[in-house]
Symmetry: C2
Subunit: 598 residues, 2 copies
C-alpha cells in the first residue's frame, strides 16, 4: 500500500523563502495570517490527510460507489472521514468569515487541496465541488440565497455540484437543452427540467443536502451560449429554520463505471420540474459558470500535482529498496545480493523528471494562489488587476500542464515498479487511473490551449502576457550579474526567447487565420508551461544559493534544489526546441487532409 507524507518542508521553502507569504498579512483581512499560523494549519492538515484519508484510498478504489434506486452510497469509511473533515473546519478554510469560514488566504487552501489529492483524490472531489458552488453563490447569488445556503456550504453539512454537461454537449454548452420556466406558484422560483451527465458528487451519503448549480435555458433565451442561465437547485428544499425539508424534483438516474476515481460518484442527474432559483442575471449564466469553472480548473491542476507527488514519494522508496542487478560502474552494495535500482542513471532520470516538474508546479501553484489573494484583497485596484491578469493567464496552463504532468509522473512511478506497478494491490496504477480524468474534465486540455491562444493571448493587446513576461525578463537581467546563476539563467533565457518568438508568430498568423492559432495551441501551451517552470526554478535556485552557505542542517535541502534545477534546465527544458519547430510547421499539414481520408 502506498505511503504519503505531506511535503511540508517544500511548502515552507516556497511560502517563506521564495514567495514570502508574510506579505499576504499586509492585505486587509489577513492581518492575523502569519507564516507561523499558516504553517500550523498546514501541519494539522497534513496529519489529517495522512491519518484519515490515505487509508481509504485503496479500499475506496476497490469498493467504488454503490447505486440503488436513486440512492448513492460512498465506500466504507467515507462518511465517517467526511464527518471528521467538516468537524476540523477544512471545508471553510479560505471561506468568508461572515458565513462561518476561517478566511485564510486561498494559497493555503491550494496547498491543502494538494495534500488531499495526494492522499485520496476521490474523497477530495466531494468538498472540491462544493467549493465551486460556494464561489458562484458568493459572487453571483442574491443576499437571500447567500444567507440560506452559504453557511451550509462553508460548514460542509451541505455539498454542491456543477451541472453543465448533457449527453450531446460538453465543450459546446450553447447546445444545452435543459429548460427553466418560471414557477407559477412561487415568485422568483423556476421549474427546471432536463438531464445532466457526468455530475461529480451529484448524489452521495456524505451530507444532509446537495445543492446543484444547473445551467438551463429560459423560455425566451437567445440561441447559443448567450441564452444560458444558472440556477440553484437543492436536493431538499430548505425549511424556514434552515433544515432540509421537502424532496425536490431531482434524482440520480445512475452512476458511471469509470477508469478511476471510483470512490467519487459520477452521476446522471434527472431534473423533472425541480424547483430552482436564478443565480446571477437571466441569460448570463456563462459568466457565473466561469467563476466556478476557473476556480475548478485551478483545482483540477492541483489534482495533477498531488498525484505526481504521492507517486514520486513511493517511487523513491521503491527505487531505494528494490535490489536488482548491479550498477553499470561496479557494485555499489557488494554486501547485498544486488544493488538498489536507484544506482541506475535512467531510474534517476525518471525520478528527477517527476521531481523537477512536481516541485516546479508546486511553486507555480503557490505563485498563482497568492495572486488570487492579492486580486481579492489588495487595496490598490491596479495591483488587483495585475494579479487577476496573471491568474487568468496561468489558469489554462495550470489546468493542462499540471494534469499532463500528473498523468506522466504517475506513469513514471508505476514504470519504476516494473510488473508490480501493474498489480492493483501496490496502488501505483490507481494513481495513473485517477490522474487520467484530470486531463479531461473541466475543459479537456486541448480546450485549455485554445483558451490560452484564443482568449488570454489577444486580450487587450497582450496585456495579460506582461504579468508573466516582465518578471521573467527582470529576473533574467538580475541573474546575468551573478556568475553562479548563469548556468541556470542561460538555458532559461534561450527558452524564453523561443516563447517570445512563438508568441509573436502565433499572434500574427492567428490573426489572419485562426486555424494557425489552433494548430499551434497545445504545443504553445506546453512551451509556455516549460518556461514558467524554468522561471520558478531560477527563482528557487537563486534563493537556495543564497541560503546554502548558512544553512547548516538544511544544507542538503538547498543542495538538492540546486541539483534539481540543473536537471530541469539541461534535461527537461530542451523540449522547447521541438515544440517551437512543431509550432513553426503551421496548420497546413493538419488541414490539408480531407476529413474522409483520415
Amino acid at each position: 500500500m502506498p505511503t504519503y507524507k505531506a511535503p511540508l518542508d517544500d511548502v515552507r521553502f516556497i511560502l517563506n523563502e521564495v514567495f514570502p507569504v508574510a506579505r499576504l498579512a499586509e492585505l486587509p483581512g489577513h492581518e492575523d495570517h502569519t507564516p507561523d499560523l499558516i504553517e500550523a494549519v498546514l501541519a494539522e492538515g497534513a496529519k489529517f490527510v495522512e491519518n484519515e484519508l490515505l487509508p481509504l484510498n485503496r479500499s475506496g478504489d476497490e469498493e467504488g460507489c454503490h447505486y440503488e434506486n436513486g440512492v448513492v452510497r460512498t465506500p466504507q469509511g467515507f462518511p465517517e472521514a467526511y464527518a471528521k473533515f467538516i468537524e476540523g473546519g477544512w471545508t471553510g478554510l479560505s471561506c468568508d468569515p461572515d458565513y462561518g469560514g476561517q478566511g485564510l488566504p486561498h494559497v493555503v487552501n491550494f496547498i491543502m487541496e494538494e495534500f488531499i489529492c495526494s492522499a485520496n483524490l476521490s474523497f477530495g472531489m466531494y468538498p472540491g465541488l462544493s467549493h465551486g458552488a460556494y464561489n458562484a453563490l458568493t459572487l453571483h447569488g442574491t443576499d437571500e440565497l447567500k444567507r440560506t445556503y452559504l453557511p451550509k456550504l462553508v460548514d460542509g453539512t451541505w455539498a454542491g455540484t456543477m451541472c453543465l454537461t448533457e449527453p450531446h454537449c460538453g465543450t459546446d454548452l450553447g447546445l444545452i437543452r435543459t429548460k427553466a420556466v418560471p414557477d407559477e406558484a412561487e415568485d422568483g422560483a423556476y421549474a427546471i427540467t432536463g438531464t445532466k451527465i457526468f455530475i461529480s458528487a451529484g448524489e452521495h451519503d456524505l451530507t444532509e443536502n446537495i445543492l446543484h448549480l444547473v445551467l438551463a435555458k429560459l423560455p425566451d433565451a437567445p440561441a447559443g451560449t448567450r441564452g444560458i442561465s444558472l440556477f440553484l437547485v437543492p436536493k431538499f428544499l430548505p425549511r424556514d429554520d434552515g433544515t432540509p425539508g421537502m424532496r425536490n424534483g431531482v434524482m440520480c438516474g445512475s452512476i458511471e463505471h469509470k477508469m478511476g476515481i471510483k470512490a467519487s460518484s459520477t452521476c446522471v442527474m434527472n431534473f423533472d420540474g425541480a424547483k430552482g432559483w436564478l443565480v446571477g442575471q437571466p441569460h448570463k449564466g456563462m459568466r457565473a459558470m466561469f467563476t466556478m469553472m476557473n476556480a475548478a480548473r485551478l483545482g483540477v491542476g492541483i489534482q495533477g500535482l498531488g498525484l505526481a507527488e504521492v507517486s514520486y514519494q513511493n517511487a523513491v522508496t521503491y527505487a531505494r529498496e528494490r535490489l536488482q542487478g548491479r550498477s553499470l560502474t561496479g557494485a555499489k552494495a557488494p554486501d547485498k545480493p544486488a544493488d538498489p535500482i536507484i544506482v541506475h542513471p535512467d531510474v534517476r532520470k525518471t525520478l528527477l523528471t517527476m521531481r523537477a516538474h512536481t516541485e516546479g508546479c508546486r511553486a507555480l501553484a503557490c505563485w498563482v494562489g497568492m495572486n488570487i489573494d492579492i486580486a481579492a484583497k489588495h487595496p490598490d485596484p491596479e495591483a488587483r488587476r495585475a494579479a487577476d491578469d496573471l491568474v487568468a493567464l496561468m489558469t489554462p496552463i495550470v489546468k493542462a500542464y499540471f494534469t499532463d504532468h500528473g498523468f506522466d509522473a504517475t506513469n513514471m512511478g508505476m514504470q519504476l515498479y516494473g510488473g508490480h506497478g501493474y498489480i492493483r494491490e501496490y496502488g501505483m496504477e490507481q494513481f495513473v487511473r485517477d490522474a487520467r480524468i484530470a486531463q479531461i474534465y473541466e475543459g479537456a486540455n486541448a480546450i485549455q490551449a485554445l483558451d490560452l491562444v484564443g482568449r488570454k493571448l489577444p486580450q487587450d493587446m497582450g496585456r495579460l502576457l506582461r504579468q508573466f513576461f516582465h518578471p521573467v525578463s527582470e529576473l533574467l537581467e538580475e541573474a546575468q550579474e551573478d556568475p553562479e546563476l548563469l548556468e541556470f539563467a542561460i538555458p532559461l533565457a534561450k527558452a524564453f526567447g523561443k516563447l517570445q518568438q512563438a508568441t509573436a508568430i502565433v499572434a500574427q498568423k492567428g490573426m489572419k487565420n485562426p486555424d494557425e492559432a489552433g494548430a499551434a495551441s497545445t504545443d504553445y501551451l506546453r512551451l509556455f508551461a516549460l518556461v514558467a517552470l524554468g522561471y520558478m526554478w531560477l527563482r528557487m535556485v537563486k534563493v537556495a544559493r543564497e541560503r546554502l552557505p548558512k544553512a547548516n542542517g538544511a544544507a542538503g535541502f538547498y543542495d538538492s534544489k540546486i541539483k534539481t534545477a540543473r536537471f530541469f534546465m539541461t534535461k527537461s527544458l530542451p523540449q522547447v526546441n521541438a515544440l517551437f519547430l512543431s509550432i513553426m510547421a503551421g496548420s497546413r499539414v493538419l488541414m490539408d487532409m480531407d476529413a474522409d481520408a483520415f
Copy 2:
C-alpha cells in the same frame, strides 16, 4: 462498443509495394507463398478477429478470469473462441510443416498478431505465449522433446508459458532460487521446486495441457546468470500415446488483479518437485531463454501497434460524428447544430500523430518480420547474418518504441472522446489499460534501451548498426536526385545526422564511463526510433509518389500517405532535437544527487 476493421489495404501497400513480399517466395520453403496466397490468408484472419475476438474484448475485461482451488476459468466465450482459433489453424501459421505447421513467412504471423491484438489483446496472450515455448523447443529441445510436444503446440491443443520471474527478481534473473535436482527414478528427468510469479497463461481452461518453460538452478550451478538452466515442465505428463496423463507437481497458487489485460490470467505458479526435462545445455538456460524472449519482445511491440490502430480507428469515427462547437474559420456544417470535431486543427494533430506513428511502426514491423524470414531461410550465410543483425538491432526499438506509442496513442484516442473516454462502456480506456502492460513486461522499456546502447551498439564494433545506417544513407542519396522527395528527405537527413552524432558520442563516452551510456539510453532509443520511422516514411512516400499518377481509384490512399509523411517529418521528427540536447547533457546531472537526497 469499439469497432475494428483489420487494415488490409495498408498491409497490402507495405507488403506488395514497399517491401515486396514476393521476394520471400524466392526463399527455400516459401515457393508457394505468393502475395496472393498471403493476402487471402490475411483476409481470412481479418474476418476471424473481427467476428470472433472483437466481440469478447469488452466482456472479457469486465468479467476477468476466475480462480478457485488452483483452477482458472477464462471469461465467457473464450474457450469457444479458442476452439475456433485452433480449428482455423491460426496457432501454426508460421510453424514448421514437419510438426504440422503451415510454414508461412514470419512476417505474415506478425501481421496476424497485430490484428489479434487490435481485437482482443487478452485473448492473444494465450497463443502468444505458446509461440515462445514453440521457439525455445524448436531451437534447443532434444528430438524426443520436439516429437512429443511440438505437434501439440502447433495445433494449439496444448499451450505454453515462460516461467522466469520470481518475487524478488524480474530483470535480474541471476537471483532466481527455483531449484532443479536430477530425478532419481527417471533418467534425464529433473524435479523442479520453487515459486514463479507474473506467469501469463500459467493456468487456464483453453487447452488440455500446458507446457511450462521454467528457469531453474541445478545443484552444481555457478552463481548468477551463468548458472541458470531451462526446463520443460508439463502440467500433465504425456502418456505414451501422446494424450495428457498424470498431473505433475505444478499448481497455480493465485491470479493477480491487474490494471488491464484482465481476461489474460497472470498466475503465481508453485512448482513442488514437478517433473521436468532440460531444454538446451545445463547452465546455458539464458541462451535458450533469450530465444523465447527476443521473439516475445517483438511480439510485445506488435501489441502496442495493434492497440494504437484500433484506438485510432475509433477516434476517427468519433471525431467525424461528434458535433460540438464550430470551426475556428466559420461553420463547416451549417445545417447541423454544430460542426464535427474533426474540423479542429488540434483534433487533426492528435489523429495524425496516432496515424503517422502507427503506420510507420507497421512498416517497420514488416521490414523486421521479413528479415526474420531471410535470417531463417536465405541460402547465403552472409545474407542470413545481415538480416539477423538488423533484427537484433531493431528488437529493443520495436519493443520499447511501439509499446510507448501504443500507450500514447490509446491515450490520445481516449482524450478525443472527452468524458466518454473515461467511461468503461465506450471501451477507449480499456485500450489504455491494456496497452500499459506492454511497456513493462518482457523487459521494461528502460531495459530495452540498455540492451540497445550496452549490447547492440558496441557489438563487433558497431556491425549491427550498419544494417540500418547503410540503407538510410543510400535512400537519402537517391532522394537527393528527386526534387519531389526533397521536402521529406531534408528533415530525415537532419535527424539522421543527429542520430549519427549521438551514436558516436554515446559510444565514446560510454566506453569511458558506462553511466554515460545509461544516462543517454532511453533518449537515444527514442531518437533512433524516430529516425527509423522517418526512414519508413521516406520509403513509403517514395512509392506513393510513383504510384499516384496512375492510381485512379486508389489516388486518395497514396495522397494520404504523402500528407501523413509530411506531417511526420514536420511535426513529429523535430523531437529528435530535444532528445539530442538531453543526451548531450550527460550523466553528471543524474548521478550527482545522493540516493538519500531524492
